[in-house]
Amino acid sequence: MFRFNLVAAVLVITLGIGWQKGLATAAEAHSITGYGFGHAPSDRELQGWDIDVRPTGTGLPAGQGTVSQGATVFAGKCASCHGATGREGPMDRLVGGQGTLASRQPIKTIGSYWPYATTLYDYIRRAMPFNAPQSLTNDEVYAVVAWLLYQNDIISTGTVLDAETLPAVHMPNRNGFVPDPRPDVSR
């Protein structure tokens, strides 16, 4: 904070001198170390928006959920789009498909394709249910993530997911991704 104030003070002095001389030239403006626009976010301002969850677990909130709690949430708020077991649609299939990625008809699901379990938490909390995004509680998100991982045979029925256990879940396709090798097609 001290450093910020110092920068701001230098800026004010610099601009002040510039102003007395009239408008600073472009070269002078470029050398200004800071424009001084905007304001530093308060902790409260950060709280509402700082919702990303990383593979390390950073960003996961307090709370927890079980597979059986998740079954209830899914049936009530997710099944109408994704099917009773997460396989039927009409929207994205979420369950099954493991071992199909190299076949002619790959089935990309959470179980067969998603490399990180934490991504499920991040995505469901920010964007689901589609018709009422951000309406689930943190516990409900943990629970529905648990149910989806259980349906995909990734965790056992008794697993309780929280900020400690979720990042430790190993996804089957964790090592399935490679960097961009393009250009890859020659004439």
Binding site: G38, A40, P106, K108, D122, P179
Partner: protein
């Protein structure tokens, strides 16, 4: 087909133009006839009522009636009907075959959104820049507009453009095969200006960009690759962004897949690694035949499409100016070539100046059609020397399940009757 002679215009005039309804000028009489023949058919009348409204406003001789007064916000002529094709809830396609030049009207810019177009009051919109920075900041739209500004013409192409063409020809028109690309003049502040303002910590190598739509769309972007050209844009083609293009603030990364150009931008967070969001793991990754998937395939490689003549159009024997668009996410178009024999031989097309990097480039090629069945193709060669590949070459490397980044050569077949259709060779 043959290249056109030196003076194609005089040649053209010797060709009688077929008197088809489509070739007749749209006259008051033609419109009146259509309206009269449907009188008494209530349903048809209802459908035709817009036509009749146009009819009533068009005098037989516009030089004998004072015109309309100035208006607050201009509209196109009611005779112009070119529209986007709405693909589904998630997007719409630009009518490339109807457009001239390289700039896409904002109203016809393709759309791709992940849970609708949000309504945002710009006076309440804020951009938060935080994470591994020295001075986290919240910037209002007014703040952002005070920074030094820059304008640049660049294309934005969805990585899924032509995605339905991997397995078989599906789109009937250039709009349906290639309509997820558009070019605009984007204006805003350089990303580097704002990142310098907040002061990046040395370990800040990845940046999360987040939108304020109902998908709270996020992508992680490698800082070193976007510092030079990334733009925080508030204007498009001279006016504020359209809501469907991210109003009031959009990130634009020239040459990169459209989903990296986060719309309705509300947050930039700096970190040491990719955040591995849904949109860069389960989506926008390219599945290869061995079951592995390529990740962070950002650049849109060189591509082109002939827009005239293209699918759904009809050509007549004689002079044809073949017109199309070429572009590359790696820089400028060095050359556009046209084949009139299904790819056996290629000839260089003329490029419309100025040729700008990472921007649609208009090409033209004069030829004569002799009425025989043939296949028209174009290919783009960019400043790196990369040659737009044939579909077979692309599939040989990537298979048919990669979904994204299909930049294969497009083939349009011209039948003896002059009908143009989408084919694959």
């Amino acid at each position: 087909m043959h290249p056109a002679p030196e003076n194609p215009i005089s040649e053209t005039r010797e060709e009688p133009l077929a008197d088809t309804p489509a070739s007749r000028p749209l006259s008051r009489r033609a419109l009146l006839c259509q309206a009269v023949t449907t009188l008494g058919l209530t349903a048809a009348q209802a459908i035709l009522s817009p036509l009749r409204a146009e009819e009533s406003s068009v005098p037989t001789d516009p030089t004998r009636v004072p015109g309309t007064p100035p208006t607050l916000y201009g509209q196109r002529s009611p005779f112009e009907k070119s529209e986007r094709v709405v693909k589904s809830w998630w997007g719409s396609l630009t009518p490339l075959q109807d457009l001239d030049g390289v700039v896409t009207p904002a109203s016809l810019h393709f759309e791709r959104h992940h849970n609708g177009v949000p309504s945002i009051d710009p006076s309440h919109h804020k951009l938060l820049v935080h994470g591994l920075v020295d001075r986290p900041l919240i910037l209002s739209m007014d703040d952002l507009k005070r920074f030094p500004s820059v304008s640049r013409l660049v294309f934005i192409e969805c990585s899924g453009n032509s995605g339905s063409e991997w397995r078989a020809p599906t789109g009937q028109t250039a709009q349906q095969t290639h309509g997820l690309t558009s070019t605009s003049e984007w204006t805003g502040v350089r990303l580097a200006t704002v990142l310098k303002e907040v002061g990046l910590k040395p370990e800040a190598t990845w940046m999360l960009a987040e939108g304020s739509d109902a998908a709270v769309m996020t992508r992680s972007l490698p800082v070193a690759d976007i510092m030079e050209e990334g733009l925080l844009c508030y204007a498009q083609n001279g006016e504020a962004l359209r809501p469907e293009q991210g109003y009031p603030l959009r990130l634009v990364i020239p040459g990169w897949e459209g989903n990296t150009c986060i719309k309705w931008l509300r947050r930039l967070k700096l970190g040491t690694a990719p955040f591995m969001t849904r949109e860069e793991t389960s989506r926008y990754t390219d599945l290869m035949p061995d079951g592995s998937a390529r990740q962070f395939t950002m650049v849109m490689e060189a591509k082109s499409v002939i827009t005239t003549p293209s699918g759904g159009q009809k050509v007549r024997p004689g002079f044809i100016e073949v017109r199309g668009l070429a572009w590359s996410g790696r820089g400028s178009v060095m050359k556009a070539e046209v084949s009139t024999d299904g790819g056996r031989s290629w000839e260089e097309a003329q490029l419309q100046e100025p040729v700008l990097p990472k921007c649609h480039t208009r090409f033209r090629f004069s030829c004569r059609w002799d009425g025989e069945e043939t296949i028209l193709q174009s290919r783009c060669i960019d400043e790196t020397g990369y040659v737009q590949p044939a579909r077979t070459a692309l599939i040989a490397v990537r298979g048919m399940n990669s979904d994204y980044h299909n930049n294969a050569i497009q083939s349009w077949k011209i039948s003896r009757e002059g009908h143009v259709t989408n084919v694959q060779v």
